[in-house]
């Protein structure tokens, strides 16, 4: 029983990471109807930035805040420089651009930092909370994820900028007619997605270690989470993230074994696309032809 609960709770902890990354995917999907395949590599790159700060002797939390800030700015720049020019391009061109971004970020990270696996510190090393169910880092991860999700919810629900971003994602023409600078709202969305990714990267790096390919498996789970929850539903994506985290962990421990864990994500993705393409909480669109 103890072992089962341990698997369950640690599933929730990694689920939080998937939830955050899935949310970042959904945010960009909602406003542009594109899946940002480079989301994981952006997060990986941010994590290397954090490593650079920490390696230079900057205290963890200062490095954390600095990384989130720099990632936000980089996200905005990527939207302005890379994504904006293909705004009206066919969907496949955009996919190619995202994949190029993925490959470029991956290679540049390997080039600067080498492909040698590095350790990444966890800020949560409390002895006091030792217990059989959850490691301190897992508790910390859940805490950080919940805070991030609550902050995002409050931002979109209660601030005027959040409202403008929601409006711009839903109806760009009407938004422009209300005076909203829609282009900047998209750039801000990319900035936020990059910042969320940075946090997710820093939280998962102590577990999977730091290397340029650290996010490949994680992003598969995040895609599964976003699809499961409904690719256009932020709350669905978050729930999907936690569900995928728990299912992955339990399946790894009791069903397929850790070696085949990743297939769980693929089975989920294919299963959702086959049987419920709109996801658990997504909207179904009916088009008249």
């Amino acid at each position: 029983m103890e072992a089962f609960l341990h698997q369950l709770f640690s599933g929730l902890a990694t689920g939080g990471i998937y939830a955050a990354l899935a949310l970042a995917l959904v945010m960009i999907y909602q406003s542009t109807h594109h899946i940002n395949f480079a989301q994981g590599e952006m997060a990986m790159f941010s994590t290397y930035l954090a490593w650079t700060f920490i390696d230079a002797g900057v205290p963890y939390w200062i490095a954390f805040v600095a990384t989130v800030g720099v990632s936000f700015v980089l996200g905005v720049i990527i939207e302005r420089v890379v994504v904006r020019p293909v705004e009206h391009a066919p969907v496949l061109s955009v996919v190619i651009v995202f994949i190029a971004l993925l490959v470029i970020l991956n290679s540049v990270a390997g080039w600067i930092y080498s492909y040698t696996i590095k350790t990444f510190p966890s800020p949560f090393e409390w002895e006091a909370v030792r217990n059989p169910y959850l490691a301190p880092h897992e508790i910390g991860t859940v805490g950080v994820t919940v805070v991030v999700l609550l902050l995002l919810y409050a931002f979109f629900r209660y601030t005027s900028l959040g409202l403008a971003m929601r409006a711009a994602a839903q109806n760009p023409v009407s938004s422009r007619l209300a005076g909203i600078r829609v282009g900047w709202m998209l750039a801000l969305g990319w900035g936020l997605a990059a910042a969320i990714g940075a946090i997710a990267g820093m939280m998962i790096a102590p577990v999977v270690y730091l290397d340029p390919n650290m996010m490949s498996g994680i992003m598969l789970y995040a895609f599964a989470a976003a699809l499961l929850g409904g690719i256009d539903n932020p709350i669905g994506a978050v729930i999907g993230g936690f569900v995928v985290g728990v299912v992955e962990n339990l399946a790894g421990a009791y069903v397929v074994g850790t070696e085949l864990k990743l297939t769980v994500a693929l089975v989920l993705i294919i299963g959702v696309l086959l049987f419920k393409p709109s996801g658990l909480f997504g909207r179904r669109y009916v088009t008249r032809v």
Partner: protein
């Protein structure tokens, strides 16, 4: 009375084709101008050209500023509120959030709250639907919401694209009554495109008749109402 909006020799269209070929018209400060015309005459394109939603060239001055090369967001911020055809509802937002989006460029928070209350006064139905998702409102309610959202900008000019389209006669009467009130009491000038020529000519002081991208006829609304061709073609008596 000064001129609030002045348009001369306006060409506009989509892709390589021009829909408007040298259109000129004006809206006086505090006035109501209506643009009449058949389907495909270029009425909607005209409104879109004024606020920069389509490719255009020509002379467009609003509130003393040249706006023919400005982007939509900046034109709106000068005080031009456009109620687009199809109403442009933010379907996933609540009624109240839709109104807040209308006032999103404003910084005077207290006045925004007062205006919100004033809109609920004009349109009590919207007050009842305050927290409801706007996409679930009826067509008439969405039209009211679109007008209220535009008024939340505190515009100098309210631009309306076929506000009566697809609505029950009683709802149309209601909407026209409120437009008149807004014009008289809040001194908001109005530029109205309308298929219902009879209603539009009753409300407006100046009218233009658009035919295949050009102004075929213009003058005081009362004169156009008595014009033989207008009567035969657009009023049907």
């Amino acid at each position: 009375m000064g001129t609030l909006l002045e348009v001369k020799d306006l060409h506009a269209g989509y892709g390589p084709t021009d829909v408007l070929r040298g259109v000129g018209f004006a809206v006086t400060e505090g006035g109501i101008t209506t643009i009449l015309g058949a389907n495909g005459a270029g009425k909607t394109t005209l409104l879109r050209a004024v606020c920069g939603l389509v490719r255009r060239r020509g002379y467009v001055h609003f509130a003393g500023e040249a706006i023919e090369s400005r982007v939509t967001e900046d034109i709106v911020r000068l005080g031009l509120a456009h109620v687009p055809d199809g109403r442009g509802t933010f379907t996933m937002l609540s009624t109240e959030e839709n109104l807040r989006v209308g006032a999103i460029t404003r910084r005077d928070r207290k006045a925004v709250e007062q205006d919100m209350a004033r809109m609920y006064g004009y349109f009590p139905r919207l007050a009842e639907r305050r927290a409801q998702q706007a996409g679930t409102l009826s067509g008439g309610e969405q039209q009211m919401l679109a007008i209220a959202r535009a008024l939340m900008l505190r515009p100098k000019l309210l631009v309306l694209d076929e506000p009566s389209f697809g609505l029950a006669p009683l709802v149309v009467q209601d909407i026209f009554r409120i437009m008149r009130t807004v014009n008289r009491e809040e001194k908001v000038s109005i530029l109205l495109v309308e298929q219902n020529a009879r209603l539009a000519l009753e409300l407006a002081d100046t009218a233009y008749l658009l035919e295949t991208g050009q102004v075929a006829l213009s003058g005081a609304a009362a004169d156009l109402r008595n014009d033989e061709t207008v009567r035969a073609a657009y009023l049907g008596y």
